[in-house]
């Protein structure tokens, strides 16, 4: 036991020196790197106020699916909002072509993008408040900071990767259906969401269930994408989804942002692991 202690005495000194270096230099280097990455990510979201002022630029996305061409959509994204939409729908029965656009005065906020953007800016804020002038005293302090940053980043990523699961009445009640001119016919529902790096548009065609129908009425629960046959009650009517059309388009900058999130999450974890090596110095203060 005595020899063990003696051997560790020299070892301890080296470890302490190393830990000091870690807290002094390495942590700040990593934080700087993280900041750079996240700033790059937030630029993708075109944060208002940071850097370029004025209205965010508009991007057009043509949404389609590889299978059929029954639904075509052109959506215009301005920052986190859909400023214009142009939806063409070919009715399967009579080949009638329906055309809808957004009302001029309205915008549709994509909550997922806004939330992801806000989470990123919160993470950046956490990082910039600990710049080079700030001295970390304990490993636990770094861990707590990293935990907080990682929480924000995970939330940002999850907002993009997990679209809200909505029930059909929720979709029907959402403001999106009231955005269009001419107004959507009552047998159509529209939903727009982000899934990973893709902007998705779903159009549900509905038909009313006869009140005396023998069909077993079972309202569908929440889902990202409802399948044909899903039923729900809206107003006094019972409705069933007859056709579902889903079109999507990759948003390149969302892809970038997701990559940045993953990279920065790994950086955070690596820093935490480095700190954890010195876990026996939890309460150790080099100063």
């Amino acid at each position: 036991m005595a020899t063990v202690m003696a051997a560790t005495a020299a070892e301890r000194a080296v470890l302490e020196e190393e830990f000091r270096w870690l807290l002094h230099d390495e942590v700040h280097a990593v934080l700087k790197q993280l900041q750079d990455i996240l700033k790059e990510a937030s630029l993708r979201f075109t944060l208002p106020g940071s850097g370029t002022e004025g209205p965010a630029k508009q991007e057009n996305f043509i949404l389609g699916s590889c299978g059929t061409d029954q639904v075509k959509g052109v959506l215009t994204l301005q920052g986190d909002a859909l400023s214009q939409a142009d939806v063409n729908l070919k009715m399967p029965r009579n080949n009638q072509l329906l055309h809808f656009t957004f009302r001029e005065d309205k915008q549709w906020k994509l909550q997922q993008i806004q939330d992801a953007r806000n989470h990123v800016s919160q993470a950046i804020y956490l990082l910039i408040s600990r710049d080079e002038s700030y001295q970390f005293k304990t490993g636990a302090e770094v861990l707590k900071l990293m935990d907080a940053v990682m929480l924000q980043l995970t939330r940002a990523r999850n907002r993009l990767t997990t679209p809200a699961t909505l029930t059909l009445p929720e979709i029907a009640a959402s403001g999106l259906t009231r955005m269009f001119a001419p107004a959507l016919p009552s047998d159509l529902l529209v939903n727009v969401y982000i899934n990973l790096n893709k902007l998705c548009l779903t159009v549900y065609q509905l038909h009313a269930l006869q009140p005396n129908s023998t069909k077993n009425f079972r309202p569908a629960g929440g889902a990202v994408l409802h399948s044909p046959g899903a039923m729900f009650e809206w107003g006094s009517q019972r409705l069933e989804v007859s056709h579902v059309h889903k079109v999507e388009c990759v948003i390149p900058w969302l892809n970038d942002a997701l990559v940045y999130f993953t990279v920065s999450l790994q950086l955070c974890q690596q820093l935490k692991d480095k700190i954890s090596v010195f876990s026996s110095y939890w309460s150790y203060r080099p100063f």
Partner: protein, 1098 residues
């Protein structure tokens, strides 16, 4: 947690970490409330002299606390609300630390404002919340349900901060600033109706403020004109009338502003994230009066700030600070600036009413008025803050105590295993350790209690596992320990030898888990070690081999699942990815992320292939933390791992183990290796064990007869031999005789068929059986009787107020219980998830108590008053000691203990009882038959009434029920007055003990004749149980033929007394056994037992 569970915390020398993230002072300026990153709330007492002392730690949140706010009009109800990172919200009563209401919503709040408009609103008011979601949510302050929201028509975004403008002149309105820097105004008072009718309310005005990261917005109530908005890099003053900018002050030398407040007309206080604060005077030049500005630009030039005073902290190292300011104009309140740090330090500054600069115009520094940390409390009251094994570890190496880094309690052996920082493992008898730690003069206990020291690790022990506790199929002697050096040792805890050492070479072992019983490989369950380099190793204990090392994980392992059919190990990581390992070959089968990973993990749940899931949280080195409910999905992201696992582990205990009278719960904290222990006393179970009638006896007769009786006979014999063996040294020959007795008596079971005519009592018996059937019969396990009585004594020691009167000596002498070393830290559960623990030094928080009282462990001043009231209502029976009067002192002693415990249990039940039930009791307690009707409604009543009858039996005399009735009324009345359970329990205990001891003092111990009579009585009555038994037998037949529902006729009143007596006889034998184990009495006493016991056997 069960309501009958009483908890006592044994803190260590180090305070648990409390990284303050939110802080507030209650409106009465008597208390500071802080919320921490670890998830706990702390209540700090604030004296009139502005001295701080920590009082209580509140557990309930499993994630970092984000904000605190008032939840009621504080003068009426002292409630606050807390919100956590994961959407949990709790409303707490800060005077007693109870959680009043809780909810988990899918919203993360960063600020909450309480709003109540008494003349327009029904209910308790609203909590206006903002956070990581669009706009402002309105949450009902009472139910915590979302009422509605304030919507914005333009640029809806997250809201950073808000304030309520409330003045006589202007309509109430809500001011908020969004993340993007948009100021929005909603009408409050005029939109109450529309909100209640669920109509959308949009903002009245909005303005872009051109700065980001808004921290605070404040309305100047003095001038009712100015608006202070603090951003992280600047602060601005606006005119409230037209929102024109009057002043912008940019931060210097890289400081970040964190908040601010208007402290007087034209005087503002701004604080920064690193703990500095500045008081400015806003000066107007004469211009603004002469030329009233038409546009804001002119006025802007007329205001400029002048720095009057500043405050700073000496060690402004730990960022960020959370600060607040309390502005009270009423005397004797102070203007207080307060701050909380990540390190857990609270600092107060008393801001003078009129802050002025120095004569030369330079800013004056305001000194710190008070500062305090949790650790200061622990240092100051160090007798209270010793850990459970300090004594033993001190004994080992003479100086210095080892820091416990991990611990495990084995309920079946009552052993506590503690792994220390220096690599030793100490195994002690938990009850003895607790006694040595808590009681005065415990040195006797200390010397007698054996403890083992296992030496094998060279580094601090990070995790422990007792496999037998999880699966009874594994060897009882095995124990596993893992250390910082990645070494896992398999021990034999009985022989103290090392069976095997596994060297994993994978960093500190963060947790040891075992595969579920369903999952077996090579004929045995396997052990899973999670290491801090994110690797997982599987160990086969029988084979002493390492089966698999899974080392590809990039993120900490969050969840382990087992696939028994295909021998897969499914590892869920913190980044939501999943790794599937084939155990036999050790290859990585699959790696999935995102949606598919989620499906895989959920799939395992649905298909029920995995029986038990061990989600583990092993972020960095955060020790073992098996948490059963962390798998609950949360919309916004993964749950951060909870700081302290008290609540959940409590649940685990409830779920996993049968109730035991005594339990130790080791608790670990997040981000540090500080841990502490909680002792849990199950009052109900304790009473049941000590007083096993009539519940178990009657019950057993209603179950299948033959086997049951045989079993019971056996167990009685067993018990007897056990207890007699113990007393052999004292009275050799007699015990042998007693031993022989039951054997000779056992054939007597045969002639049980003697018929007694019991028509009169028939229906009554049946009624009794009904009671017993609903009683939730607990299988009578063999529990060491002396252990039970020791537990009871320790429990009473913990509850008694010591040094209040000269009764200490009497208690020690007659009850044979020891005095406490210091006040205990009582734990208190308000519901199954929420828990409060007193901190060392809590007793000094009640200032009025210190003055006239020198004792320890008095819960509050109120206790003595309550106790007096209780004594006043007590039936006047001085001179007749409660309990069976026996010649043996120890008998009487344990009897008194049993009596006291059952009283406490009754009080506990009564105070905890839901109100509607209580009403019924109040009106109809005496009517036994009424109770029978109520019985189906609530088990509480049932238990209570039966205990009530037990108590009466315990007194062994026909006393007036009205006396007890008044007591019950009194106690019920306490509940209505919101007396805390602990207070009520202590008050009753104190009163009963006083009464008892006084009676003892008055009557000299000349109990010989009395006991003679008693014995005679017993012998006479010994026929009765037999009689009763046959009645029951008959009843069984009746029950078989008759429908279960027996009409309850009023005739029963008359037979009540009778039944009580019989019950009494029934419960005697068991108690005797227990008593006997305590200490051997006189020969006569033994023969008495020998006579009674057969009665029971039959």
């Amino acid at each position: 947690m069960r309501t009958s569970l009483q908890a006592v915390a044994l803190w260590g020398q180090k305070a648990p970490p409390h990284s303050i993230t939110a802080i507030m002072i209650t409106d009465d300026q008597r208390m500071i409330v802080t919320g921490s990153q670890e998830g706990q709330l702390c209540l700090w007492n604030l004296s009139h002299e502005l001295k701080i002392s920590a009082k209580e730690l509140l557990f309930g949140h499993s994630a970092s606390v984000t904000c605190l706010a008032r939840a009621r009009d504080f003068s009426k109800q002292p409630y606050i609300v807390s919100a956590a990172e994961n959407g949990e919200m709790c409303v707490w009563n800060v005077t007693n630390g109870q959680c009043v209401e809780k909810a988990t919503l899918p919203y993360r709040h960063t600020a909450i404002c309480y709003y109540h408009c008494s003349f327009r609103m029904t209910g308790e008011g609203w909590l206006l919340c903002c956070g990581e979601y669009q706009d402002v949510l309105i949450i009902d302050a009472k139910t915590l349900a979302v009422v509605h929201s304030f919507r914005s028509s333009q640029f809806p975004d997250w809201i950073n901060c808000m304030c309520i403008v409330h003045s006589m002149r202007i309509q109430d309105s809500l001011l908020v600033v969004s993340v993007a820097g948009e100021l929005k105004v909603w009408d409050l008072s005029s939109s109450i109706n529309s909100i209640q009718e669920k109509q959308d309310v949009y903002e009245k005005e909005s303005k872009f403020l051109e700065s980001l990261n808004c921290q605070t917005i404040r309305f100047c109530t003095y001038t009712e004109r100015l608006l202070l908005v603090v951003f992280s890099k600047c602060w601005k003053v606006y005119d409230y009338c037209d929102f024109s900018l009057l002043l912008t002050e940019v931060s210097r030398n890289g400081q970040f502003f964190a908040g601010g407040e208007v402290i007087a007309a034209h005087r503002i206080l701004i604080w920064t994230e690193d703990g500095h604060s500045y008081i400015y005077q806003l000066l107007n030049s004469g211009l603004s009066k002469s030329i009233y500005p038409a546009d804001g630009r002119v006025l802007k030039e007329t205001i400029y700030p002048h720095l009057l005073c500043s405050t700073s902290v000496q060690e402004n190292k730990n960022r960020p600070f959370v600060m607040g300011y309390m502005n009270e104009r009423k005397e004797p309140f102070y203007k207080v600036l307060f701050s909380g740090e990540v390190s857990g330090r609270i600092t107060l500054w008393h801001i003078p009413d009129v802050p002025v600069s120095k004569f030369d115009g330079s800013p004056r520094e305001i000194p710190v008025t008070a500062t305090w940390t949790l650790q200061d409390n622990f240092d100051k009251h160090d007798t209270v803050s010793q850990s459970i094994i300090d004594y033993f570890s001190g004994l080992k190496d003479g100086a210095g105590t080892a820091v416990v880094t991990s611990s495990e309690y084995i309920p079946s052996l009552d052993k506590l295993i503690c792994g220390c920082e220096d690599g030793t493992i100490i195994i002690t008898q938990a009850l003895n350790a607790a006694k040595a730690r808590l009681l005065e003069g415990g040195s006797l206990v200390k010397d007698s209690s054996p403890h083992k020291v296992l030496k094998g690790h060279h580094q601090s022990v990070t995790s422990l596992l007792y496999p037998h506790g999880l699966s009874s199929k594994l060897d009882q002697s095995w124990m596993l320990s893992g250390d910082l050096d990645s070494c896992v040792i398999l021990w034999d805890i009985f022989t103290e030898e090392i069976l095997h050492k596994f060297f994993l070479e994978a960093g500190p072992v963060t947790s040891l888990l075992m595969s579920p019983e369903k999952f077996k490989l090579r004929g045995a369950q396997i052990i899973c070690c999670v290491c801090s380099d994110h690797s997982v190793a599987l160990l086969h204990l029988e084979g002493r081999s390492c089966l698999l090392r899974a080392r590809k994980h990039l993120f900490p392992v969050k969840m382990i699942k087992w696939h028994p059919v295909e021998n897969f190990l499914i590892v869920g990581c913190a980044d939501d990815s999943v790794y599937i390992w084939e155990i036999e070959t050790g290859t990585l089968e699959r790696h999935e992320t995102g949606e598919r990973a989620r499906i895989i993990l959920n799939c395992c749940d649905d298909s029920q292939l995995v029986k038990s899931v061990f989600p583990i949280a092993s972020e960095t080195l955060k020790h073992k933390s098996i948490e059963q409910r962390s798998s609950s999905p949360y919309q916004l992201g993964p749950l951060p791992c909870p700081g302290l696992q008290v609540e959940s582990s409590c649940k685990v205990i409830d779920a996993k183990f049968c109730p035991r009278p005594f339990n130790v719960l080791p608790v670990k904290t997040k981000w540090s290796n500080v841990g502490f222990h909680i002792l849990l006393f199950d009052l109900e179970n304790l009473v049941e064990l000590l007083l096993p009638t009539p519940l178990s006896d009657v019950d057993s007769s209603s179950s299948f007869y033959g086997g049951e009786v045989l079993r019971r006979a056996k167990s009685t014999v067993e018990k007897k031999t056990l207890t007699l063996r113990k007393s052999k040294t004292a009275c050799g020959p007699l015990s042998a005789e007693a031993l022989a007795k039951p054997i000779t008596e056992s054939p007597a079971q045969g002639d049980n068929t003697i018929k007694f005519s019991a028509e009169n009592d028939g229906i009554k018996r049946q009624k009794k059986m009904k009671i017993s059937k609903k009683m939730q019969p607990k299988p009578s396990r063999k529990v060491d009787a002396s252990l039970t009585i020791d537990t009871a004594k320790l429990f009473l020691s913990c509850l008694l107020p010591w040094g209040v009167d000269d009764l200490d000596y009497l208690c020690i002498k007659h009850l044979n219980i020891l005095k406490l070393q210091g006040p205990i830290s009582l734990g208190f559960a308000s519901n199954e998830d929420n828990f409060s623990l007193m901190l060392p030094g809590w007793d000094l928080c009640n200032t009025e108590m210190i003055k006239d009282y020198s004792g320890v462990n008095l819960f509050s001043r109120k206790v003595l008053d309550l106790s007096d009231k209780y004594t006043a209502t007590l039936p006047n029976q001085v001179g007749i000691p409660r309990g069976l009067e026996n010649n043996c002192d120890s008998l009487q002693e344990s009897d008194t203990i049993v009596y006291l415990l059952s009283r406490l249990f009754l009080v506990n039940k009564l105070v905890n009882m839901p109100l509607e039930l209580a009403c019924r009791v109040g009106s109809s307690f005496r009517m036994e038959c009424v109770h029978n009707k109520v019985r189906s409604a609530g088990n509480d009543i049932l238990n209570m009434s039966s205990f009530y009858s037990c108590l009466r039996n315990g007194k062994n005399e026909s006393h007036v029920p009205e006396a007890d009735l008044s007591l019950l009324k009194l106690i019920s009345c306490w509940r209505d007055q919101s007396v805390q359970v602990t207070e009520a329990i202590q008050a009753v205990l104190w009163a009963e003990v006083q009464q008892h001891m006084k009676s003892l003092g008055k009557i000299p111990v000349n109990s010989q004749p009395v006991s003679m009579a008693e014995n005679g009585n017993c012998e006479m009555k010994q026929m009765l149980p037999k009689l009763e038994w046959t009645e029951e037998l008959e009843l069984q037949c009746i029950r078989n033929t008759l429908p279960l529902q027996t009409p309850v006729s009023p005739v029963k009143h008359d037979s009540n007394l009778n039944s009580a007596n019989i019950q009494d006889m029934e419960d005697m034998p068991d108690r005797c056994v227990l008593e006997e184990s305590e200490s051997p009495g006189e020969p006569r006493h033994h023969s008495w037992i020998a006579k009674v016991c057969p009665c029971k056997v039959s």
